[in-house]
């Protein structure tokens, strides 16, 4: 006893070399797409994770105009204590906010008493900063954050600076900063730790305690330059940003404009362009897969119809309903797609497994990353559905042709 699916499978096996070749092409396409998605996704998550978890946070809130001038670290665009209080209120009310950290960002002259250079600094509340950017303490390549990320009177310096000025933990340095009113102030700090450099904005900044920053800058009021926010679910970043923007819309400047801006990490780092390019490549390679499956399956199904014209004539002559003939050829095309998806997914999983067992390391902007690709079920499902849908689409025209064939002409075909 046989079923339509069994008959379709046997028809595919009839020209097994051609079937193998076509299925092989589909397999190749599926493997290429799934492995690319997996590796590119891993690369993207690594870099994005590094940027958000060790520097930027997922969202940042600034006074209006601050981000446009962020390269100058303008002290005159800090948020006032009243604005900070409203931001903290809005953040506390948002359920997707896990932690947030106020920062004072400023530039200073950095001296070890024999050499002087410039440095960008963040004045932070140690425990809140560590909760907001949990990878920051892990960037310490010398020193310790065991007694607090950065204690009063101490400084975390970037590796490039420590290396260039031959500094080590425990050394004393001087910071000289220009205040808001234009006067200059200096203060000595002891190096608590050396931070590894990371890619992106702020990746080579130093860190001091926020109270020391205020003292150095002679701030009378507890102003902050930015508030970095960590989310519980980063996938809902856009909704959270919109909710915060809405909650802060009532905070206005003297001109009656919104006084605060809410930005996601993508707005604050050029890597977002690379991330978008990866997304674009992802779309491109999916389109390639559609092309491969469409051409391969359509070609083989058109050949199948052409080679079986007499057979189609016979089945039509004995009264097989056209819809049955259509479904037979559609099933053959779908089976080709199914074989491609099944074998392609199995091979892709094997490749991803191998990449985890024998990890691939790669350098990106002077950092070495280790890929840890994974293949979520949703990606496998989406690719599977795409391949099957395209295989069905590619079979439709030949199947329709077979179903509409005139039995007499078909039976006469030689």
């Amino acid at each position: 006893m046989f079923k339509v699916t069994g008959l379709a499978a046997r028809n595919l096996a009839r020209y097994w070399r051609r079937t193998l070749l076509t299925a092989g092409l589909v397999v190749l396409g599926v493997v290429a797409v799934l492995v690319f998605i997996s590796v590119a996704g891993s690369f993207k998550s690594l870099i994005v994770g590094q940027i958000t978890d060790s520097m930027l946070g997922h969202i940042q809130i600034h006074r209006r105009g601050y981000v446009a001038s962020i390269d100058n670290l303008p002290l005159n665009l800090n948020m006032s204590p009243g604005q900070v209080a409203k931001v903290e209120q809005a953040l506390a009310a948002n359920k997707n906010v896990e932690a947030f950290s106020p920062r004072i960002k400023f530039g200073a002259m950095f001296s070890n008493f024999t050499e002087t250079t410039s440095i960008r600094l963040n004045g932070v509340m140690p425990s809140r900063e560590a909760a907001t950017v949990p990878l920051l303490p892990k960037r310490l390549i010398a020193g310790s954050a065991a007694d607090g990320l950065v204690q009063r009177g101490k400084i975390l310096v970037p590796r490039i600076l420590a290396h260039g000025m031959k500094l080590k933990v425990g050394d004393t340095v001087v910071l000289v900063a220009t205040n808001l009113d234009g006067s200059v102030n200096g203060k000595t700090f002891v190096i608590q730790g050396v931070l590894d450099d990371v890619t992106g904005p702020g990746g080579r900044d130093g860190y001091v305690n926020i109270e020391d920053a205020r003292e150095l800058l002679r701030m009378n009021k507890p102003e902050v330059s930015e508030i970095a926010v960590r989310l519980k679910d980063p996938h809902h970043i856009d909704q959270t940003r919109a909710a915060l923007q809405k909650a802060l819309a009532g905070v206005r400047n003297p001109k009656g404009e919104p006084a605060l801006e809410v930005h996601t990490w993508e707005r604050l780092t050029p890597f977002s362009n690379i991330a978008h390019m990866i997304d674009l490549l992802d779309v491109f390679i999916r389109v390639m897969l559609v092309g491969i499956v469409l051409i391969a399956v359509m070609n083989v199904m058109m050949m199948a119809v052409y080679e079986r014209i007499r057979e189609i004539g016979m089945v039509a002559a004995i009264g097989t309903p056209p819809r049955r003939i259509l479904s037979l050829f559609l099933t053959e095309g779908l089976l080709l797609g199914l074989i491609g998806v099944a074998v392609g997914t199995a091979l892709s999983l094997a490749v991803v497994w191998a990449l985890n067992v024998w990890p691939v390391h790669f350098a990106f902007a002077r950092q070495v990353f280790t890929l840890a690709p994974s293949l979520p079920l949703i990606n496998i499902t989406v690719i599977g559905v795409i391949v099957l849908a395209v295989a069905a689409l590619a079979s439709l025209q030949p199947a329709w042709k077979a179903a509409r064939m005139d039995p007499i002409r078909a039976l006469r075909h030689t």
Binding site: G319, T320, P321, I408, L411
Partner: protein, 230 residues
């Protein structure tokens, strides 16, 4: 009451820029249970006539009634349904599906045309294999069968759905003489066993003698109706 009735049946084809009259005003009646041969040389209109009786082609003029149905008036889908419900076909080239076994070829119309349940299909296939003497070859594929065996399977397939009428276009043309006779004997026996009407075409004068009724076609015209030869 006649099973098949043709009145002034004509068929004209367009071949390039020329009209070809394949049938010219043919009249005949075929009774239920008959074993009928249409005979004549190549190009006399036999295949055209069988195609029209089978609802595969439409008359250009005249009427053709099969099982009380004006077969020429059916549209494509209705004609397919009519064939599936009432007719069986045997082809000169056997036209078995190469990837199916003998049993599965017989089963094909039961599944794909009439959607019988599995247990009934199984029983019917076994009955037909037994009837045509092919039980031993049930699991063989067409490329493992001789010409005669293939045509036996084709006869069984044509009878699978209990058709009232089986049409066979030159069923013995590709067989040697002895095998051809055996196939005709089988068809006759099936007619006796299942009460099915058989209409076949042939250009072989020796084979035409096996029919109970013969209609001779010449140049698209019915020139003679022979009586019972059995």
């Amino acid at each position: 009451m006649s099973l098949v009735t043709a009145q002034s049946l004509s068929k004209t084809y367009r071949a390039g820029h020329v009209d070809v009259q394949a049938l010219k005003g043919v009249n005949f009646d075929i009774e239920p249970g008959a074993f009928v041969a249409f005979v004549g040389p190549s190009g006399s209109g036999k295949t055209t006539l069988l195609n029209m009786i089978g609802g595969l082609d439409k008359p250009s003029a005249g009427t053709l009634t099969v099982l009380d149905t004006d077969i020429g008036g059916l549209d494509r889908a209705a004609a397919a349904d009519f064939r599936g419900a009432n007719l069986g076909f045997i082809f000169q080239d056997f036209n078995l599906i190469p990837v199916l076994t003998a049993a599965e070829n017989i089963e094909y119309p039961l599944l794909m045309v009439q959607d019988w349940p599995a247990d009934r299909r199984r029983a019917r296939v076994a009955e037909l294999l037994e009837a045509v003497g092919m039980s031993e070859q049930a699991d063989k594929r067409p490329d493992q069968l001789s010409g005669g065996q293939k045509q036996r399977v084709a006869v069984a397939r044509a009878l699978a759905t209990h058709p009232k009428l089986v049409l066979a276009d030159e069923p013995t043309a590709n067989l040697d003489h002895d095998t051809a006779y055996r196939i005709l004997e089988l068809m006759k026996r099936m007619r006796e066993e299942f009460g099915t009407t058989f209409i076949f075409s042939t250009h072989d004068p020796k084979i035409m003698g096996e029919a109970e009724v013969t209609f001779t076609l010449e140049d698209g015209r019915l020139s003679d109706k022979g009586g019972a030869h059995v």
